[in-house]
């Protein structure tokens, strides 16, 4: 297996005594854009949080660069090259865009910070024009972009993005997803959790559907229709199939 592939085997995790993930198996090759979908409570966000060391792991393996990183703390995982953009507003509203990016560069050595900010501004020209604006004064879409930029500043090998479309206008959603596509085109591995299945199917090159803490479908977005997707969400099965796991 190549070094920058992420391989999850029989991952079981949850919060305290509550189990959410009941044996997730998933391989994410480097450079892939994967959309994680599923009904509420399927464990999509929990899977991202578990990968970022924010849940209680009950068993299984997260293999990354030849090591099992299951049980690592968030900061160590960040150091391993995995960044996380949490759901909802997650920036420092009373700081400017520039200061937010400086905070995001906390673990990066000083001499490189400036260069890295320029790199991020090149990636997100919208932010460059807003660099002196207080994050809290920007639109939801711009704030979401800032949050993605804060994660990208760490130059992650894998970017975990949790529901970037929450609370955004359709136009803002469009901008955010466009930027994710551009990042992916530049070679970024992305693991995206998204409720907006239509949008997620448009941008991702692979769709993974979770239900009750397990992967129940894994394939190309073009291989599944919206009706079939709805059916999977509701029943866990596709028409004409007894068990939908591929």
């Amino acid at each position: 297996m190549a070094n920058s592939d992420l391989s999850i085997k029989d991952l079981r995790a949850g919060y305290g005594t509550l189990d959410i993930l009941n044996g997730v198996d998933l391989d994410v090759p480097a450079g892939q854009f994967v959309a994680l979908m599923g009904p509420n409570g399927a464990g999509k966000s929990t899977l991202l949080k578990t990968l970022y060391g924010m849940t209680t792991i009950k068993g299984g393996i997260i293999e990354w660069q030849g090591r099992n990183i299951a049980g690592y703390k968030s900061r160590a995982i960040l150091g391993e090259g995995i960044s996380f953009v949490p759901q909802g507003r997650c920036n420092f509203p009373v700081m400017t865009v520039d200061e937010n990016l400086q905070m995001a560069a906390y673990t990066i050595r000083d001499s490189r910070v400036k260069a890295d900010r320029d790199y991020v501004y090149d990636l997100f020209p919208i932010l460059k024009t807003r660099r002196s604006t207080l994050a809290g004064n920007m639109s939801g879409g711009e704030q979401q972009l800032l949050e993605v930029a804060m994660a990208v500043l760490q130059r992650p090998k894998v970017l975990l993005v949790d529901e970037p479309s929450v609370g955004l206008s359709p136009a803002a959603i469009h901008i955010v997803f466009d930027e994710l596509l551009r990042l992916h085109a530049a070679g970024q591995t992305i693991l995206l959790v998204e409720q907006n299945t239509k949008k997620a199917m448009e941008v991702a090159e692979r769709a993974v559907i979770l239900r009750l803490g397990k992967v129940i479908w894994d394939g190309l977005p073009k291989d599944i229709t919206h009706d079939e997707l709805g059916e999977l969400f509701l029943t866990g099965k596709m028409r004409g199939e007894n068990e939908a796991v591929h």
Binding site: S74, R75, P86, F92, M95, Y106, M150
Partner: protein, 328 residues
């Protein structure tokens, strides 16, 4: 040129420097402008400004509510008082020892308490004040209990052959003013540094700061200790000014006064704390001449604050600052 243009130009003139200069002159000339009683009130305000500055770093910049400030103030007052009474050490030694001991006491409180969530942390700090007062009352062999320490000498400086005592109200005022200015400068330097930005990050979103790699717990502990040092130094001034220290120094009333200075002045702003000290301590001290009106005036101040200035007076000060600077 139309009248409006002229008005515009007048408004654009930057009046900030003249204002700062004027305030500086007033501050320096205060003992000669007002009565001795006004000077006394200003000294009390300057003394309370120190723990308030420390508390502002904690509450205003790092987002941690603490009620322990009176305890550190008391520890500082007793430390300076005991040193001065028993060993006759110079003021700067007493003040440094007061700050250091208060900071040292913050460590064993902060280590367990800062692991707790917001409300539990506040309760811990409240308990610390009560314990402090109990010790001051009951460790009679050292603190003389309720009798308190009396006859604490006025601040005494000794550097080689040079030695002098700050005996009068006016000279004490200048000493307090200098220390207050230094403390203000120190806070300004702290909050302008990268550490200051990390403190604000913790206040704004601790989880995010932590996930970005900021050692949030260590930051909170260090700020807690620094805030205690400020309170300790303030306590040493208090002991040397009043020349008496009693267990009443450890009272919740002082903690709340310090909190009102910070929240009323404007948490997370330096000008707010300076203004708040003058308003909530200086003014109420000056109103002691009319004891009946004093608490009514204080209460009215708080009501005005709660209804019209929810973020303290700092936003008003900032707007005024921009206005005279001609930027808005």
């Amino acid at each position: 040129m139309s009248l409006a243009d002229t008005a515009q130009q007048i408004r654009r003139r930057d009046l900030r420097l003249p204002l700062v200069a004027a305030l500086l002159v007033v501050a320096l000339a205060a003992p000669f402008i007002g009565s001795r009683y006004v000077t006394h009130s200003l000294i009390i305000a300057l003394i309370f400004m120190l723990p308030a500055h420390g508390l502002n770093l904690l509450v205003g910049y790092t987002g941690l509510l603490s009620l322990a400030q009176a305890a550190f103030f008391g520890i500082g007052a007793y430390t300076a008082g005991l040193l001065a009474v028993h060993y006759g050490t110079p003021f700067y030694v007493n003040a440094a020892a007061a700050g250091l001991l208060a900071g040292a006491c913050a460590l064993p409180l902060g280590v367990p308490a800062l692991r707790l969530r917001a409300t539990s942390f506040v309760m811990c700090t409240l308990g610390f004040v009560i314990i402090g007062q109990a010790i001051a009352k009951n460790w009679i062999s050292v603190t003389r209990g309720d009798m308190g320490l009396s006859a604490i000498p006025k601040p005494h400086f000794a550097l080689g052959p040079l030695s002098f005592t700050v005996s009068g109200t006016t000279s004490f005022y200048y000493m307090a003013l200098a220390i207050g200015a230094l403390a203000t400068l120190a806070v300004w330097m702290i909050v302008r540094s990268p550490a200051g930005r990390n403190m604000i990050a913790i206040r704004e979103n601790e989880t995010l700061a932590e996930s970005l790699g900021v050692p949030t717990w260590r930051y909170k502990l260090i700020v807690f200790i620094i805030s205690a040092v400020f309170a300790g130094v303030g306590g040493s001034l208090y002991a040397h000014y009043l020349t008496v220290v009693s267990p009443l120094t450890f009272q919740m009333y002082y903690s709340t006064t310090m909190l009102i200075i910070v929240l009323g002045g404007g948490a997370g702003t330096i000008s707010g704390v300076v203004f708040g000290s003058l308003l909530f301590v200086g003014l109420t001290e000056a109103l002691r001449i009319t004891p009946e009106l004093r608490m009514i005036a204080y209460g009215l101040c708080l009501l005005v604050l709660v209804f019209w200035f929810k973020k303290g007076f700092a936003p008003v000060i900032n707007r005024f600052w921009d206005l005279i600077g001609g930027t808005k």
